[in-house]
Each structure stands twice: as structure tokens, then as C-alpha cells.
Assembly symmetry: C2
Homo-oligomer: 342 residues x 2
């Protein structure tokens, strides 16, 4: 593979954070200890541990955690001999207070995540992380919703706040390989910090998109063992590492051990198969938030519409999280248009 | 997408043939009727129906079918208003006799499949299919094992026998996107007939590889609804169609109906989740036959080796089906080499 960067590639395992959604935030301390210990032993670089929606996510709105995430972070740090424990923070959900607490417990890296057009809300948290001496990384979510120009503008903001890397985060699993090439190469040209890519597998493209990102010079990638992440999961770590090995790229991680963790440790935890089903596929196809699914189903029933038509329309309109009240409006408009057609 | 062909793209749904492996060849007539009827209604172009190992595969060696495949072919033909029923034939397993029978029952297309280096054994069956007035297609299996030069040579043989298309068949799910580009573009330059690509998802690349094939001018592609195919399944049809639609490529198939077939008809049939697990991953990573898995496990136990080391060695040596006796030899050699190291 021709890579446009000479920097080493660093991978973050997200099953203990993105997978928290799948587990309905019910990870036990024993589970986190065992997974972290085995990942560390396999040579994993970073292990992200947080509520699925980041620090402070354990609420009625986002789902209460079974075990306080600070306890889980502490447990993971305790198990890691070489890996760095990472945390996720969405400003508005998590606060500087929680960031400091995670740092005190030993977390060495934070990804400060905002909607792709709202990088400006990350300034305070990125600066604070730098002050604390943590690795501070910007995480631009729902990246498929922004033009490449907008994405570059927002990434530059994060760079200006002191981020050491910025991720293109394909939260809905909606980005296609040629779009990854375009977005990552534009960032690579415009920024001097590292570029990362976080994939979801809703369109079965997570591994391919991650390779595309590496080809364009990304040096930070994410994976989830056995695809344990939201939607259809992420780039499946042990598969991704196998593909990279076949391409002559060795990250210094023991692939057999990763396969064994997937089969014997993480696999048995997963409550439902991480396949691409109707729900996860439509999220990627429409490019919308997972929280829209249920609302669209209800609106569909009310207006006699296929919920997929509503979701596709919401995707086209680039409706974002927090605008759930738009769903009924969109459904009403669609129903009216249908009536006029008849 | 820039496509190097102006010909229309034709897709073959393989869940009723490749999926027969997963179903241990126990499809009932009712199941086949319902799946074929719904696929036909959605606008599917070709529906392949045969034993997993092709016509005549119902044997003790390959697994006995619950229902005679001729009965299933007849049932599928009966249900199809517009789709063409296709069959698979591996010379040596299936015979000209069975081909004629399938044709009489209404099968309109046959894929004559050989190991990638053994196209010469397909001459008789391809000629016969042409004589019968069927569409005759060559299917070069385990295509990752041949150099591009060899692949082109073998494909040309099939073209000379009268094949209207030749497929690159990634039986082990071991081909990487850049290799697809290389192989398909070489075939496109050297042949005047259509080129096809049949993917497996063992390395999570089935959809991406299929897109890569289309970009290079392939016009025949395969998918399996809900990933119901051998190994980790194929390119998941409803996902592939969604991605193609997002790229502006419309095959005239109703995507919502395909999603519904996946969720409500095929999904409930599948005996185990079509995830990428330890077994399917190592097949793709090593690039070996699925029948080697159990043999390698046993040899590993006997010689105190990790079966994956044996499989990787077999992959490097390009050992093919029928050479299972090599597995013990390879294990013995590996064990000896390990001893010398100590």
C-alpha cells in the first residue's frame, strides 16, 4: 500500500466504549478488567473506556451505566501494562470536571467529540486536556453531513485549540470509500497534525474505508473486536489487523491473540449478533442518527408512510440530533405530497 | 463512480445456492418457493438454485440435500415471472446429464466452475450449455491463488469454449481491493466477453471488492441476501444495492423489498449469525479451503501446533482441495522446524 504518511499507525480499540451502546451500558467491572487485560497483553495501543455517549453519559436520557465509568476507567488502567486508556468526551454531556477525574485515574488520551459543524464547542476541553498533559484529539462526528471544505474548516479549529489529531468520525456508517479518499486527503493537505478515521459498518465498508483512510495518510484508526460497537459495529479489529498484515503493515499487535479475544472473551458477551440488519442498514443508507429510528417508525404509522422514506428525507435535509421534533413535520409534509400526487 | 463499461450491470442472488452450505443443504421446497417469489417480485435478475457444491453435489462427501435440487430448481422456475433461474456446475461433481435436466426444468443460465488453474475441464460443459441455448458463464474459483497472468490465460480458455462471461471467484474471501483492481482490469483488457466478480466476506471486504470490480468494468456481480453464503457470506445483497444506489447506480431492483426479504424471510432461516468469526477469518487470512479447517485442528493437536500456523503455511504453499493429505505433512514439517529452533 502506498501510504502518504511516514508516521507510525496507532489504533484505538473502542469495544469498551462504542460497544457500551450494544451492552446497554451494563458492562461489569470484571468484564472490563478481563477485556482490557487481554487487549493490553496482545499489544493494543489505546483502549477507550467510557459510557457509550462519553464521560457523563450515564443519565436517564442516554442510559444509566451499571457500573460508574470512573470505576471502569480505574479498573482498565489497573490492568494495562503498556496500553494507554483513552476516554471520550462530548461537550454538553461530559464536563471538565469529569475529564480531570478521568485523568487523575490514569486516562492518558481524550477524544473531544462534537457534531462535524460544531468544533467550536471543543475549545475548552481540548485546552484543558493539553494543560493536564493528556493527548488531546478532536473527533468530528457525523462527518458525512459536511462538505469536505466545511470539514477542513472545522478540523482546523480543533487544531488551533491544541488537538494533536483530528478524526473523521463516520458515526452513521454512511461514508463511501471514494468520499474517504477525498476527505482524508484534503485534511492531510491542510493540517499539520495527525488525521484519524473512525468507521461504522452499516454499509459493510468499515474495513475498506479504514484502509482508504490509511492510504491517504491517516495515522490514527479505530476498531472494535468482534464488531462490538453501535449500529453494525465498527471496523472489526481482528479482521482489520489481518488485512493490514496481508498488505505488509504490522502494528506490533499479536493477531492470534486478538482473534482469541474476539472468539472467547468478547464474542460471548454480545447480546445479539453484530450483523447488518434492517435498522443498521437504513441508518447508513439514509445517513441519520440512530435515535431517529423509533421516532420515524411512529411517525410512519401515524401518517401511513414507510419509515424509511421519512429517514431518507431527514438524511437529505441533514437533520441533526436534538431536532427530533422535525421528524413529525417531515412526515406530515411527505404525507401531504403523496396525497397531492394521487 | 467511473465505470469502464457501458454494458448494464446484472446481479445474481446466490443465497439459495451458496447459502445451501450454511443451511447444510436442508432447504425445503416451501422456503425456496417463498425466497424465489419475493426476489422475483423485487426485480432480481438471476436467482441461483443448486446444491452448495453445484449440480450433483448431494452426496455423502458434500452433504446430502433434504430436497432433490431438481425439484428446487423446478419450484424456483415456477415462482419466477421475470427472473432467470441459474445453476452452478462443477465438472467432476455435476455432469452434462444434470445440466440438461436443469435446462429442461427451465434454468436459463449455468456457471461452470473450476479451480482457477483448471479451466480446461470446463470445455465440454460450457459448449453443451451454449448448444442448449443457455447463458454459459465460466467461474474461476479460489482466484486469489493465481497470478493475474495465469488468471487471464485461464479466462481466455473459457472464452474460447464459448463462455459469455468469466467470473473472478474469491471463494476464500481472501482478495484485497487493490488486487481486485489489478485482476479485473487485466481481464477487461484481454477479453471481449463480460467479466464478473463473486465475493466472500471473510475479510469484511465483499462489498468494497464488488465496487472495485465494477469500477474496473465488471458487469456481472453476485450477492447473498442477509449474507447467507459460505464462510462469512458474500456481498450482502441489500447492502450492496444500497451502496450502489448512493453512488448513482440503479439496477432496477426494489431496495426496500430486498431489505424486507433480508429481515423477514431470509433472516429467520439462518441457523447461526453470519458474523466474521475465528473460522471464517482464518480462511480469508490464510486463503485456504474451508474443508482444511477441521483437518488443521486435528493436525495441530497431534503435533502441538496452533492450527492457524498450519493453515497459513498451506495458504502460502497454495495447497488445493483434494490435497488434504498434505496437511499432516505440513504439520510434521512445521513441528520439526520448531524443534530445531529450540
Amino acid at each position: 500500500m502506498n501510504r502518504k504518511s511516514e508516521r507510525p499507525i496507532k489504533i484505538t480499540e473502542v469495544c469498551l466504549r462504542d460497544g457500551s451502546h450494544v451492552m446497554q451500558h451494563q458492562f461489569t467491572e470484571d468484564q472490563v478488567r478481563r477485556v482490557a487485560r487481554e487487549l493490553d497483553d496482545a499489544g493494543m495501543h489505546y483502549i477507550e473506556v467510557s459510557h457509550g455517549d462519553g464521560l457523563g453519559g450515564s443519565t436517564l436520557q442516554y442510559g444509566k451505566s451499571f457500573v460508574d465509568e470512573m470505576k471502569l476507567i480505574e479498573a482498565a488502567v489497573d490492568e494495562c501494562k503498556q496500553a494507554t486508556v483513552a476516554v471520550l468526551l462530548l461537550p454538553g454531556i461530559g464536563t471538565v470536571h469529569e475529564l480531570k477525574q478521568a485523568h487523575t485515574l490514569g486516562a492518558g488520551l481524550v477524544r473531544v467529540a462534537t457534531h462535524v459543524t460544531e468544533a467550536d464547542v471543543s475549545a475548552q476541553h481540548i485546552s484543558m486536556a493539553c494543560e493536564l498533559g493528556m493527548e488531546a484529539i478532536g473527533f468530528l462526528m457525523m462527518a458525512h453531513m459536511a462538505s469536505t471544505e466545511k470539514l477542513v474548516e472545522q478540523a482546523k479549529l480543533m487544531e488551533s485549540y491544541g488537538a494533536q489529531a483530528v478524526y473523521v468520525t463516520d458515526s452513521a456508517g454512511a461514508i463511501l470509500p471514494h468520499e474517504v479518499h477525498e476527505k482524508i486527503s484534503a485534511l492531510k493537505e491542510s493540517l499539520s497534525i495527525e488525521i484519524g478515521f473512525h468507521a461504522h459498518n452499516n454499509l459493510s465498508l468499515a474495513v475498506a474505508n479504514t484502509i482508504a483512510a490509511l492510504e491517504e495518510g491517516a495515522t490514527r484508526i479505530d476498531g472494535s473486536v468482534r464488531c462490538l460497537g453501535a449500529g453494525a459495529g465498527n471496523a472489526q479489529t481482528e479482521v482489520l489487523l489481518s488485512v493490514l498484515d496481508r498488505m505488509g503493515i504490522n502494528l506490533g499487535i499479536d493477531i492470534y491473540k486478538m482473534m482469541d479475544i474476539a472468539e472467547h472473551t468478547v464474542g460471548p458477551l454480545i447480546p445479539r449478533p453484530q450483523e447488518i440488519n434492517k435498522g443498521s442498514l437504513i441508518l447508513g443508507y439514509a445517513g441519520v442518527y440512530s435515535s431517529f429510528l423509533l421516532h420515524a417508525e411512529r411517525a410512519g404509522q401515524r401518517f401511513g408512510l414507510d419509515s424509511r422514506d421519512i429517514l431518507l428525507e431527514l438524511g437529505k435535509m441533514k437533520v441533526v440530533g436534538g431536532q427530533e421534533d422535525m421528524i413529525l413535520d417531515v412526515a406530515a409534509q411527505l404525507a401531504k405530497a403523496r396525497k397531492l400526487e394521487v
